[in-house]
């Protein structure tokens, strides 16, 4: 379970998160929508401790992320995150990309890591690209590789930050299909996305962020069907 309790966060004078309260249960798929600059990415990077918070608490399975005593590297093993930018390690093949952290972080043997990497790459449809360098992959393939790389760590939670936003339109579908597959397998996920149709289909709940505040959160039928927050109404009108 991920518990976010009254989290505040500023960059200098800019208040980016203004008291966020949110709980994501095991197995839940939460999508986060909202305008650019509303604090969505910042929230995700706070959850895995890449960013500090000013006040409040974030608990992952009861462990306080920003407590001094927390081993962040250990915590990050169970929180996978995939970003908007394609982050393949360019000097490693696709297979090696997916093996590296398994070997160095989880201390898996080379053969175990390879078996798991092959399994995950199969899963995301990259079985024929194992020995290829990332520069030879399309953006969609690179994103699927990044998803496989995160999944190979056997995470309990997956965070996705606009993973399709930097892709050519014709490549968006293949990545969303991968996310749908994960959702159907019961993975606990927080997906920041601009794909409203996708959000409507896969989410258990959808949260709308506006200027550092979570202005509305509800089941997709309700949030899209009968939005209450005026800013959300504007936002939805603008995206259609």
């Amino acid at each position: 379970m991920i518990e976010i309790q009254n989290v505040h966060k500023s960059f200098g004078a800019l208040q980016v998160l203004k008291g966020i309260n949110l709980t994501v249960a095991k197995g839940e798929v939460l999508t986060v929508i909202g305008g650019s600059g509303s604090g969505k990415s910042t929230l995700l990077t706070c959850i895995n401790g890449l960013e500090q918070i000013d006040s409040g608490r974030i608990l992952v399975d009861g462990v306080e992320v920003h407590a001094k005593s927390t081993d962040l590297n250990k915590l990050r093993e169970k929180i996978g995150i995939v970003f908007q930018q394609w982050n393949a390690f360019p000097h490693l093949t696709v297979l090696e990309n997916v093996m590296l952290a398994q070997i160095k972080v989880l201390k898996r043997s080379k053969s175990d890591a390879e078996a798991e990497a092959v399994r995950q790459l199969n899963h995301v449809g990259l079985a024929d690209k194992l020995k290829v360098y990332p520069s030879r992959l399309s953006g969609g393939q690179q994103q699927r590789m990044a998803i496989a790389r995160a999944l190979a760590m056997s995470p309990d939670y997956m965070l996705f930050d606009e993973v399709t936003s930097a892709l050519d339109p014709q490549l968006v579908g293949e990545v969303l299909d991968t996310l749908r597959m994960l959702a159907s397998e019961g993975m606990t996920m927080i997906c920041v996305t601009h794909e409203m149709k996708f959000a409507r289909e896969v989410s258990d709940r959808v949260a709308f962020f506006h200027k550092g505040v979570m202005a509305e959160i509800a089941a997709p039928e309700e949030l899209f069907g009968a939005p209450k927050d005026p800013e959300l109404q504007k936002f939805l009108a603008a995206t259609h």
Binding site: R76, G80, F83, Q85, N87, H91, A101, K104, V105, A150
Partner: protein, 217 residues
Amino acid sequence: MFDTALTAKDLVFLAQGAGMTLFVTAISVFFGTIMGIIFGVIRYQIGPWWAAPLTFVLDVFRSIPLLIQLVLANAFVTTVLGLRVSGFTVACSVLSLYTAAYCSEIVRGGIEAVPPTLRRAARSLGMTWGQDMTYVVLPLATRVALPSWIGLALGVMKDSALVYIVQVVELLKSTQTLITRLQEPLFLLMICGLFYFLISFPIARFGGYLEKRWSND
């Protein structure tokens, strides 16, 4: 042209000088690079403000002509400290620091060329700072830095000619000795140049080979 007084023995003498040039260069580039990596990582990690004293010292090594550094270091070690240290040791130490000063600049630039988003992805996978450095940042920085580093190594090889000032007989000094004796400057300088070429060329080619191999295509 071909009635030269140069004997086979003289050629061996030149080859020994070339060997010394190569030896001094290899030692200096080896230790200079290790120190350069350490200084470069430190400078990058602690930021320009905290690194200012280190940067200043390295800048001193970069801006004072090598000849002066060699003479001063030699005088300092032998006269002021009263140590019995060979010219060879002084030469290698000074050249190593000189190399380290340039190398740390190259390393810092290489590290800065690695996108922060890539490092964030590595850390997100649970990698420690050291693992990120070792398996992601330094391999990528190496690729960026390689051409400059090869240039540095070749430059140090040529600059090593100056170590004659602390009584190390390397290639250029050997050549000058022969010129004084045989009075055939042009011919001897040509041979000297040929020797420099012979030891530089493989290094340059090796750099080209690595660059090609690392281009991942």
